[in-house]
Symmetry: C2
Subunit: 128 residues, 2 copies
């Protein structure tokens, strides 16, 4: 199949598929006589895997590792466990940081009931 069909099957833009090939996340696609990229169902599976990882906000470099680990099916999956665990930790950390931010912003948003910029409590608070 051609790149546009792969795109539709996987819900990943053609542009993005080419980009993944560029950065080595996907192997170099084989080309047919006119130079168009030619894909198979294996590529569909690989790309869905990548898309699922991206949905979990796993960075491309870590997805590379996840792909490579699978080339040796007898190896330990502790690396996979660790990587997912780290990703979970990252997300939790970010949530905590944003929760603090939310509190601050909420307090700030409520602080001003004036109408004139010169008296604005929000701006005053931002200057401390």
């Amino acid at each position: 199949m051609k790149i546009n069909q792969l795109s539709k099957l996987t819900n990943v833009l053609s542009k993005t598929i080419r980009y993944y090939e560029d950065v080595g996340l996907l192997p170099k696609a084989s080309r047919n006589s006119n130079g168009y990229r030619e894909y198979s169902s294996i590529d569909v599976d690989n790309l869905i895997f990548i898309r699922r990882c991206r949905e979990l906000q796993i960075p491309l470099e870590k997805i590379k590792i996840l792909i490579q680990v699978q080339t040796d099916t007898t190896s330990s999956c502790s690396e996979v466990d660790l990587l997912i665990e780290q990703q979970l930790e990252n997300v939790r950390k970010t949530i905590n940081e944003l929760s603090l931010l939310e509190k601050t912003l909420h307090t700030l948003a409520k602080s001003c009931s004036n109408d004139i910029v010169g008296e604005c409590e929000i701006l005053k608070n931002l200057k401390q």
Copy 2:
């Protein structure tokens, strides 16, 4: 004062101060005879204001607006209110998205008790 002292007083890197000047967030600094940038206590205040906004993850373009609004101290501060409210909404939306992500990752992290990559439940889950 010179850029490094401004940097120390505001906790903003010299590099970043120059960058803010480049993108028009800070006015062009005056220069003394040797070409070094020269700052005053007004710059300290402005930069602290910017830093506080950045701590709230307000984008530079919106900080520009907040600065500009203050040039006319008699104007309404409804624009300020709105901007902070929008920022609060952004943060809340991101927190919600990350919370969903956290659940998925947590479930995923617990799913595998194997040791062999070929049997790894995490990887299987990522392939669906």
